[in-house]
Structures are given as C-alpha cells and as structure tokens.
Amino acid sequence: MEHVVLGIDGGYPLLVLAWLAPLAGAIALWAFGPRVRSLGGPIGAAICGVAFLALLPLWNAATAIGSHAYLFSTHSNGIGAAGASAVASYSTNASGANAAAVSTLAGIHQSLVSWAPGFTFGLLLDRLSLVWALVITGIGFLIQVYSIGYMTGDRAFARFFAYLNFFVFAMMTLVLSDNFVGLLVGWGLVGLASYFLIGFYFDRPSAVKASRKAFVINVVGDIGILFAIFLMFAAVGSAGYGDVFANVAKLSPGMLFAICGCLFIGCAAKSAQVPLHTWLPDAMEGPTPVSALIHAATMVTAGVYLIARCAPLWNASEESRMLVGTIGGITALAGALLGLAQWDIKRILAYSTMSQIGYMIMGVGVGAYDAGVLHFLTHAFFKAQLFLTAGIVIHALADQQDIRLMGGLRTRQPFAFWSMTLGVLAICGIAPLSGFWSKDAVIYGTLERGYPALYAIGVLTAGITAFYMFRLLFVTFFGTYRGAIDPSSLGIRHPELSGQAVEPAHDHHEAHPTSILMIAPVAVLMIGTIGAGLLWIAGWRDFFAPAFAGAPEGHGAVFLPELGSTILVTAVVLVGIAIAYVRYAAPAALREAIERLRVETVRMPAPLAHAFYFDVAIDALFVKPAQALGRLAGTVLDPLVLDGAVRETSIVTAWLGHLARSFQTGLVRAYALTLVVGAACFVAYYAFGAVR
C-alpha cells in the first residue's frame, strides 16, 4: 500500500525532545514529587520552557517547505525506515488532484514507530501544529511560572505540576500526531489531564462531580472521533492524515459528511460547543491556572485545531461547513447570553471562553481557517491573561470569587485593574488590540463566504460580549468595596442553589500578597494581547496559504465592504459598553450599586439563571434513562440472569454431587456389583466381538 507522507521525512531530535520532555517531567514529578516539594514548580516550568525553546529552531524547517507531497511504499518493512537516509527512496507525487489536497500538510515529519503493517505513528510539524505547539508550550510555561506563586503553600504542590506537564505532553501528542489514531490518543489523554486537574482538590465533592462530568462528556467526544476513524478505515483503509486527505475526492458525499459529523462530535465535546458545553463552567472548580491553561487557552481549542487540520475534508463538504458554522454561531451566542447571568468571576470567563470558541469554530467551520486560527492565538493570550488576572484578584481576596462581593478594587489592585481592562478591551475587539483583528476577520469571513445569518449572530454576540465583559470590569473594580457587606443584602441567599460556584477554588483561604511570579507572566501575556492581532496584517494569510489551499473563498458579491463591517461591529461593541457603563459604572449606578445588584440577582430571568436548562435536558434525556437502565440491570438482569446463571450452576453441581453421592453407599456389596457390571461389560465386548 502506498502511503502519503506528510511533510519531509527526516530525523528531528528536537521535535522528539519537545514532545517527550513534558512526559519525562510529569513522570519525574509524579515519582519524586514528595522529595522535591517546593522545587516541583520550577522544575515543571523549566521543562515546559525547554520544550518551547526546542521548537524554535525548527521554525524554518517546518515553514520553509512549499507545497510538496510525498509518497512512499511500505510493502517491505513498514514505515519503520526513519531518518534522512530514507528520503532518497521517496518519490514526489505530483499527480493531479492528490497534490492539491496533500499540499496542505507541508512541513516536517519524524517517523517513530510502526506497530502494524501500514499503521504508523510519527510526529508532524507543519504551520498549523507549529502555532499550536508554540502556544501550548509557551503559554504553558508562563502559566506554570504563575502557578509557582499561585499554588505556594498548597498541598501536593509537585503533583500539580506533574499534572500540568502531563497535560502539555498530551496536548503535544494531539497536535503533533501525523494520524487520526495518534490524535485520538492525545485527545483522550488531555481529557484525562483535565479530569485530574479539575478534580485536583479531590476532597471537595463539587470538584469531584465537576471532573467526572467533564470526563464523561469528553469521552462522548472521543467516541465520536473513534467512529470517524472507523469510517476512515472502512473508506480509505488508513487513518493517516495524508492517506485520508489524498482520497477525499474518492469519498461519497454521505461518507464525507458522516466522517465530518463524527469528528465534529469530538470537537463539540472538547471545545464546549452546544449542547456538549455544560462541563466547561463546572470545570472552573479546578485551580485558576488550570482554568487559564486548559479551559481557556489550549485544550478547549483542540476542536478548532481538528477542523483546521481536516480542512481538506471540510473544503469538500458544504453540509459539514454549514453544520459546524451553525453550531459555532449558536454556541457563541448562547455563551454570551449565559455570561450575562453569572456572578462568579471564573464562570463569567468560562462562558466567555465558550462564546469565543464558538467564534473560532464558526470561523473554521465556514472555511475562514486563517481567521479562526488567528482568533485561537489572540484568544489564548487575552483569555489566559484575563484568567490569571482573575486569579490575582481571587488570591488577594482570600478566595472570594463572587463579583458582587468585590467592587472598588481599582485602587486596591491597580495592576490587576489595568491588566483586566486590557484583556476586556481585547476580547471586545477594540482596535488595535489583538481581539479586534481576529474577531473582525472571523465575523467578516462568514459574510464573505455567504452566511449572513451567522454574520448577524457574530455581530450581535460581539455587542453582548462587550456588555458582559464590561459588567465584569465595572462591578469588580469600580464603586466601593463590598466584601464586608452581608451577602443577603445583595440578594445572595443560598450560594449552592443559585448555581454559582461560590466555593473557593483554593484550599487555604487567606489573602495573599501578589508575588512577582504572578505578575511577570501576566505582563508577558499583555504583549501578546496587544500585539498578536497585528500578525493579521503582517502576512498571516500568506503564511497559512499553503496550509489551507482549496478553502472556500469569498464570493465577492458582498453587500458590505470589509471596512463597513468593521465599523458596524465596533459600533455595536461601543453600544454594549455604553449600556454596561450606564448600568454599572455611571455615578448614579455606583451610588445605588448594592440595591441594583440585589435587584438584578433576584430578578435574573429563569432561563439564564438555569443556563438554558441544558443540564436539566441532558439529565432527563441521557442521565435518567441510563440510571433507569442501571437500576433495571441491578434489579432484574443481575439477580435473575447473571446471578441466576451462577446460582443455577451451583444447584446443578450440587444435584450432580447428590447423584454421585448416592453411589457412595459404603456397602461392600454395592461396590462389588458395580465391579461386576464393569467386568461383565468388558467380557461381553470381547465375547460378542469373537462371534462377529
């Protein structure tokens, strides 16, 4: 069987180092965590930094190669032949349609193992995985540095960093794999890492519940991808990226849609798309750095990566683009609306993450891959910054997360205030911050490609985003400090029943001074928050042009020019900000802030307060039937069928034993008779045999 290899095959030890170093770090910290104790943090961060630095020298190799596709044959010894010496045996494949499809995977390739004929695992570093790998290790490094300050004094300090390193390894596996099976392995492992980290405070029931929920929903997604792989094997006979993409033209539209649909189930679960998003807000039970790294910057964007990676599939399937774009748009809007109703600072950020990922999915779904990927990059910066800033605030307020009990922090925590302001402006899309460029590109990308409804949703969501993010900013940092006020006067009656994770995400509840280790990473992230968007005008599209060749282009017949769209979006955003200002930060609002917050708490519309009843619906549709099935099995199947079989077996055995026992009479004469019967049979056999 001929295999299409992605990128130039060769030996890249630095790539393997960047992939395996976090795993080594995780194992070492797991094994020796109790010994190294407070050194665990610096060690973990350093390993992540090493992985980041190891990727940098590969930049030229991974991006310099143009659109080439390589075929090589594997009948002789599988794909074990690694290293540059094997390059000579490859022949360039330039035949027709395959070349265009496969050219999306130009990059460098490191063959690693082959564990079945025609099935191999290798590392692929092309433009797309390069961006992701740099973000994972780079932001992973910054967040681990931050965590050294944030987690000081925590139990299991080293275990935390072991988990983070394990997560980085899993995520690197996901993005560096050169085939869907390897991707699924990484996909499952990041889910596992997320499970570990959400449930990091495993003595807290709510955290355990949240981690379990996240894990189960993520496994639903894993199964989607698993079925996609089955379909690929059935249709193409391979799960390598190159093999699948080279054969896209041969797939029937139905099969293509089925594969895309199954893959998208995985994306929806991992990237918190409606209706599989319910785990993300609950995941805020984890420590704040975890929320920043896993549930904002990297893991939840794996769905965006997968769709961008599978661009040849989506390019060929109009229905799949429609499906993904629509779900992304709905998620963006739903996340923004739910963000309106939250009081927990981390949950607000969680819903905004969901909303922004909705944007990304919408972008890559409709074919604006470069815009979606840029939004991933900018979002990774500003959302990580927002979360880390929220962590600074929570840290300083002895683990208070309810913004109603904050207020007036502008003067108390000036750094947090300015950082938060910068992040909020970026997420709202105020020029020239990073979010402006990427969000604008995504929103206009939908219009360009003929999805006016999605465009409308995008614009509306931008306005709502501006409103609730400024609400967060105003309520937290403006007015007077409300931390000493009786919660009931703000309408907070039963923290548990209000659906807000008021329980602090820390296990030692005292105010901490903000250490330089927490401020420095945020300062570095600010650079990205301000400047990352400029990549859009610095040749971002050209950079990704070979990666997304064949993507649907804009129709041209657009009634609104790009500049007009930008002005429209900005205007809507400004309106959102203005409403937020009037409601929460105008002098009149600040005077009666407590009363206003109480009224808003009490009069929160029921659908928003209950997160559109998604949890209730999932509970009724899946959890309850599953539990009923379990009860049925427990009351009928197990006692009657399974236990019954065991019981019947024992009864039959006992009966046979009784039967055998009845021969053991102890009577010599009975034994003699038995003996004679046997002897008589023996003799009769020969006697009659002689006659015959």
Binding site: V668, R669, V676
Partner: protein, 101 residues
C-alpha cells in the same frame, strides 16, 4: 450326549454366576468369602478345560497360581472379618458402611 469343552465352560460360567449372586445377595461376610471361593473355582475349571482343549499345561500352572492366591485371599479376608468383628461386634457388612459418602 457328547461332552466337550463347551459344556465344561458353560458349567464354569454357571458356577461363576452363582458366586457373584452369593457375594451380592448375602450380607454375611463369611458366606461372601465362600462365594468368592466359588468364583475362583469356576475360573479354575475354565482354565483347566482350556488347558485340556489345547493340550497346553500352562493352564494348569495358572490354576495352581489361582489356588495359591485363593488361599492367601481367604486368609486375609478372614483376618479382616475377625478384626472387624472385634471392633464392631457385628458380622453384617451392611452395618459397617464406613465408606458411605
């Protein structure tokens, strides 16, 4: 009526069957042992008959061996009866069902 080996063998079979019946039907260990002697002798009769029929005296040697074994068996069997009688004061084999499962 001519008498050939067939009649001797048939007589041997009848005697053997009577011995079997004695072992199975009687509960007195002494009579059971005597029935076993009957079976030995039926076997001996068959052996001697075949020896005569084929003019081969190995049959006699075997019969001699059987007589010896019968003597040994009678001695051991009677010793067991004596021991059992001493222990249980009964000579009903149904009473000494020590191997009952």
């Amino acid at each position: 009526m001519l008498v050939g080996p067939e009649q001797y063998i048939a007589l041997s079979a009848v005697m053997f069957s009577l011995g079997v019946a004695g072992v199975i039907l009687r509960r007195n260990p002494l009579i059971m042992l005597m029935s076993i002697e009957l079976m030995f002798n039926a076997a001996n009769l068959a052996l001697v008959t075949f020896a005569r029929a084929w003019a081969n005296n190995v049959g006699h040697i075997f019969a001699f061996l059987v007589i010896t074994v019968a003597a040994a068996e009678a001695a051991i069997g009677l010793a067991i009866v004596v021991v059992v009688f001493r222990k249980t004061a009964t000579v009903d084999v149904d009473e000494i069902a020590l191997l009952k499962g």
